[in-house]
């Protein structure tokens, strides 16, 4: 569970990048944070992990219950070692897990992600989709209760998107709390339980994807073509 109370973030110039946010992210649910570029979705997601860049000031608080893991938009930026297995072990070593346990966790989660074949590969020689998988593996081995994804789909091609969606579905089945920041919800509608729509750092809408159809479209979120057509055809008739 994540509880966000009267939470704001200001930059040096005093602009409110997040403005007085109150939210509760329920356990075991998949929540989508949407909004146009600069609406604050990545900022809110990173704040949930406690990552706030230098030069930004915060007000209010965020309470988390359980361990949180985050997968960045560019997975390469969160990988620190040269080999996939070593990378997967990094966090666990920092948590002082004994070597046998590290081995076991890596085995368990590489199986869960169909990533066993990657373990002995070098980070520099794997594809973009495989980098994403490696980043997810190194987060999942720590068995987080909450997994945060920052625009996970935007740089992936179609087969890799399918791969990632399958992973998210498996995590959902395990009742992991998932929060995803995205501006393209076409593939996520069936997976998510709730959408939070941000505008200029505030919560504009909060609810069920289908109910928010029109608001999402107005805010420029990518929705399925039939939804878009339906909205435009209605507008054309009236």
């Amino acid at each position: 569970m994540i509880k966000i109370s009267s939470f704001s973030i200001m930059n040096i110039e005093g602009d409110r990048l997040l403005d007085d946010i109150d939210l509760k992210i329920k356990e075991g649910k998949t929540t989508l944070i949407c909004g146009e570029p600069g609406s604050g979705k990545t900022l809110l997601l990173k704040s949930m992990k406690g990552l706030i860049s230098e030069g930004l000031r915060k007000k209010g608080n965020i309470k988390r219950e359980g361990r949180t893991g985050i997968i960045f938009q560019e997975p390469r930026k969160q990988l620190v070692r040269s080999n996939v297995k070593m990378e997967a072990a990094f966090d666990l070593e920092n948590l002082c897990y004994p070597p046998e346990k590290i081995e076991k966790k890596i085995e368990e989660y590489s199986k869960f992600l169909d990533a066993e074949h990657l373990l002995n590969r070098d980070i520099d020689e794997i594809s973009h989709g495989e980098l994403t998988k490696t980043a997810i593996l190194s987060v999942l081995v720590t068995e987080p209760d909450i997994v945060l994804f920052d625009e996970p789909l935007s740089s992936l091609d179609y087969p890799n998107r399918e791969m990632l969606l399958e992973i998210i579905k498996r995590l959902k089945q395990k009742e992991t709390t998932i929060v995803i920041a995205e501006h393209d919800i076409r593939d996520l509608i069936d997976i998510c339980d709730r959408i939070i729509l941000l505008k200029e750092g505030s919560v504009l809408e909060d609810g069920d994807p289908i109910e928010l159809k029109n608001a999402l479209y107005r805010e420029g979120i990518k929705i399925p073509f039939p939804w878009e057509l339906d909205i435009e055809a209605r507008r054309d008739r009236s």
């Binding site: 146009e36 570029p37 625009e151 091609d157 179609y158 501006h183 990518k222 073509f225 057509l229 055809a233």
Partner: protein, 254 residues
């Protein structure tokens, strides 16, 4: 003909695996080309070769109608790689200033065109990834190069931003090439689609023709555009855009 690529080969390491494996391509003056393909198919490498940022190992790039190599502008996939200025305004003014153009005037127009006037005095490094994308696009547009190359110009943009960029790019009277993951974007905003797979060109042709070929799309790892799926499900001919789709529904009802 603006540009011709003849049997281009390229690998990042000497005697390493080739990223581009013999590409032949003709680029016509004033046309807009989209380059689509999966992750690692060679899109970025090919665009860098076209832009002159990489030299081919073998093969030739020729400009049949120009005496000297035309000016080519390139917007990288990661916008931050191209930034260096203190403010968005300085960033967009840099290219035209360097080319001896009326930089203040041109930059002002371009900034308006891509709707980033409110960001003018901000540092490009402190913007969101979508805003950075728009700044990167503006920084190429302002230089008025004869050929414009954009690597993933809609990456990190939401639908409104994507449409705006599409309209700006397709409205240019200059030769334009862009790579994209979004088959919807390629469908709506390019004259010709180039499908690349494993360093080779699989297909070149009009969007409606190329992006409705199941076999080609499956092989290249590209999703069928939403509009094509919709037309198929409703047994209608494939419209070229949303407005045409609305007309088709009306006709269907009449």
């Amino acid at each position: 003909m603006k540009m011709k690529l003849k049997d281009i080969h390229f690998s990042y390491e000497e005697n390493g695996t080739e990223s581009i494996k013999g590409v032949d391509l003709s680029i016509e003056e004033g046309k807009h080309y989209s380059l689509v393909g999966g992750n690692g198919s060679g899109k970025t490498t090919l665009l860098k070769l076209i832009s002159g940022l990489l030299e081919p190992d073998s093969g030739k790039i020729i400009f049949p109608e120009s005496e000297k190599k035309p000016e080519i502008g390139f917007s990288p996939e990661d916008p931050e790689l191209g930034f260096f200025a203190r403010t968005v305004k300085e960033e967009v003014e840099f290219y035209p200033k360097n080319r001896g153009l009326n930089h203040e005037n041109i930059a002002e127009k371009v900034i308006k065109k891509v709707d980033i006037s409110h960001l003018k005095q901000k540092s490009p490094y402190l913007l969101s990834s979508g805003q950075q994308r728009l700044v990167s696009i503006a920084s190429v547009l302002s230089g008025l190069p004869e050929i414009m190359v954009f690597d993933e110009p809609t990456h990190s943009l939401h639908r409104k931003g994507e449409k705006m960029v599409g309209k700006v790019l397709s409205g240019l009277k200059r030769t334009t090439l862009f790579s994209t993951h979004s088959s919807d974007f390629a469908f709506e905003f390019s004259d010709e689609v180039i499908v690349i797979y494993d360093g080779k060109i699989l297909k070149v042709g009009e969007p409606r023709e190329v992006l409705s070929e199941k076999k080609t799309l499956e092989k290249a790892g590209i999703r069928t555009p939403g509009i094509v799926d919709w037309a198929r499900e409703n047994s209608l001919k494939i419209p070229s855009n949303l407005e045409e789709a609305i007309d088709l529904i009306k006709e269907d009802k009449d």
